[in-house]
Amino acid sequence: METIDSLFQFLGYVWNGIGAAMWLNPRVFEMVEAYPRSRWVILAIVLLGGTSLLLGQSVILFVNRVRPGRFVLSLMLNGLIFAVDLIIWAGAIWGIAHLVFDLQASLTVIVRMVGLGAAPYTFGFLVLLPYAGNFIGRALAVWSFLIVLNSIAFVYETGFWTALMTVGTGWALIMILSATVGKPVVAIRNQIWHRVAGSQIDIRVQDLLEALIGEQADVPPVRKGR
């Protein structure tokens, strides 16, 4: 009974954390900074966010004909990969802040703050909505970025532009590393993906369209009239 109560209490913290982060409530930044144990709540938010986001973007799994069992595994795996991606991003932000702007903070605090940015993605399943889903996906991404931006500005007690430079440069650094020295890491990640999904996951809807009707959509039909 006590375990169930604890579970509900924990879920309550997760729910409140998501709400407070999405409202950009400074109180949540204070709590996350002050209480290291908040990491479990944040980890739950990140795993939920990653899973929910892939559910919203699951067209990629369907298009690649992933089987139901592997579909569920893929969603869970995405939660983990999402968590690792955020930790790497947090590391990049921490490094840039330290080396470029001479700003000091604990790396674990930055990891927790960046993790809060996953809060909007817990609604990532809404990306599944026909037509409106595309817009919702973009809105969630902007929202997530704003949370990270505000949390970084809060921790380093810095202004908007410095926070933007720190977060933005950190993101750009990851992009550059992924395309250069980080390629083997990306390859391993993709390999794990393919193993779990049981498919190469390399067919896009656009590929389908091009394969089925040809790239030259404006080429006149084969026969004109009789």
Binding site: S58, V59, L61, F62, V63, R65, V66, R67, P68, F125, L126, L128, L129, P130, Y131, A132, G133, N134, V205, L208, L209, A211, L212, I213, G214, A217, D218, V219, P220, P221, V222, R223, K224, G225, R226
Partner: protein, 320 residues
């Protein structure tokens, strides 16, 4: 109580919208039955031939609006109108057995999880009671139109519908590769489904395809550049048909390079007003109430417009 009802309705709408793409995605992924080969590898059976109908020099496929429950269970005024159309298009084989709101041509009352619900709603519609409840049918099908118009799901959904159209055409005697012209006549949501399916249909049957939209709500679909022509008929009292131009960015005039605007610039889309016709209710496209000073009704005006377009395109000749 009212708050509970509103919350419940919104929740149901949200869940309905979230699951709307799953039928077509599940079909593609092979979740709805055996893990079959890719649907693209299973070409429709183009050898079946109905010799009785194979002398047609034109095929017209009717795709119903969002009020359809199955290919046969559609609003009665639409049925009457189709019968009138049939008498006015000599030399044309009319195909009206495609349910455009399912990738497998499976009507809502067929072998489905909620078939009982749809049968009950169908019964209510026949009894002409609880109109608000039958609106659920429209919402369900409207969400499928959104799936067709969505660039992520559309190719899969439209491929499925195109296969069913092709299958039905062949069953009515169409010969793949014969070049016999095909016209897709889509009413309301059927306009988008027709446009979405057209690209695939052209490839499957090697056929020239035209589209006639009656009050259709259409997105910027690549099919618009592949078809012979899109004729869009609309009523001056129909605010619904204009939604396509507002909701889909590819149709905004500032998106000059979109498929829609390129087709428009090439003169492949014709907009024609039918006069004081509404989308739904009295005075609609299939209505029999007199709406013009010279004593014509919506059904007659729409019928004449469709027949005239087909005649002008030389598709009503009985000569082969």
């Amino acid at each position: 109580m009212i708050g509970f009802l509103i919350t419940g309705t919104i929740a149901l709408l949200l869940i309905s919208a979230l699951v709307a793409p799953l039928e077509s995605l599940g079909w593609w992924a092979g979740w709805l039955g055996e893990h079959d080969p890719l649907p693209i590898e299973q070409a429709p059976d183009v050898t079946a031939l109905d010799e009785a109908a194979s002398d047609a020099n034109h095929y017209l496929v009717y795709l119903s609006g969002i009020g359809a429950i199955t290919d046969e269970s559609i609003p009665s005024e639409e049925l009457d109108w189709i019968n009138m159309l049939h008498k006015r298009i000599p030399g044309t084989t009319l195909v009206a057995d495609v349910f455009p709101y399912s990738v497998t041509n499976l009507g809502l009352t067929s072998n489905r999880l909620f078939a009982g619900l749809w049968r009950w709603l169908e019964h209510l519609r026949i009894q002409n009671t609880a109109e608000i409840l039958t609106f659920v049918i429209n919402i369900r099908n409207l969400l499928q139109v959104a799936v067709s118009a969505d660039h992520r799901y559309g190719p899969i959904y439209n491929l499925g519908v195109a296969r069913e159209i092709a299958r039905s055409l062949v069953a009515h005697g169409y010969r793949s590769g014969s070049g016999t012209p095909i016209t897709l006549l889509g009413w309301s949501g059927g306009g988008q489904i027709a446009l979405g399916a057209s690209s695939f249909l052209i490839g499957m049957l090697q056929a020239p395809v035209r589209i006639i939209s009656i009050g259709g709500v259409m997105a910027d679909d690549p099919g618009v550049l592949r078809i012979e022509h899109l004729y869009h008929f609309y009523g001056d009292k129909d605010p619904v048909h204009g939604l396509g131009g507002k909701l889909f960015p590819g149709r905004w005039s500032l998106m000059r390079q979109s498929d829609w605007n390129r087709a428009l610039a090439r003169g492949r889309i014709t907009f024609t007003s039918l006069g004081p016709i509404a989308h739904n209710g009295p005075g609609n496209y299939f209505g029999t109430e007199v709406i013009t000073e010279d004593g014509r009704c919506g059904a007659e005006i729409t019928l004449n417009a469709v027949v005239n377009v087909l005649a002008q395109a030389g598709l009503l000749s009985t000569d082969r």
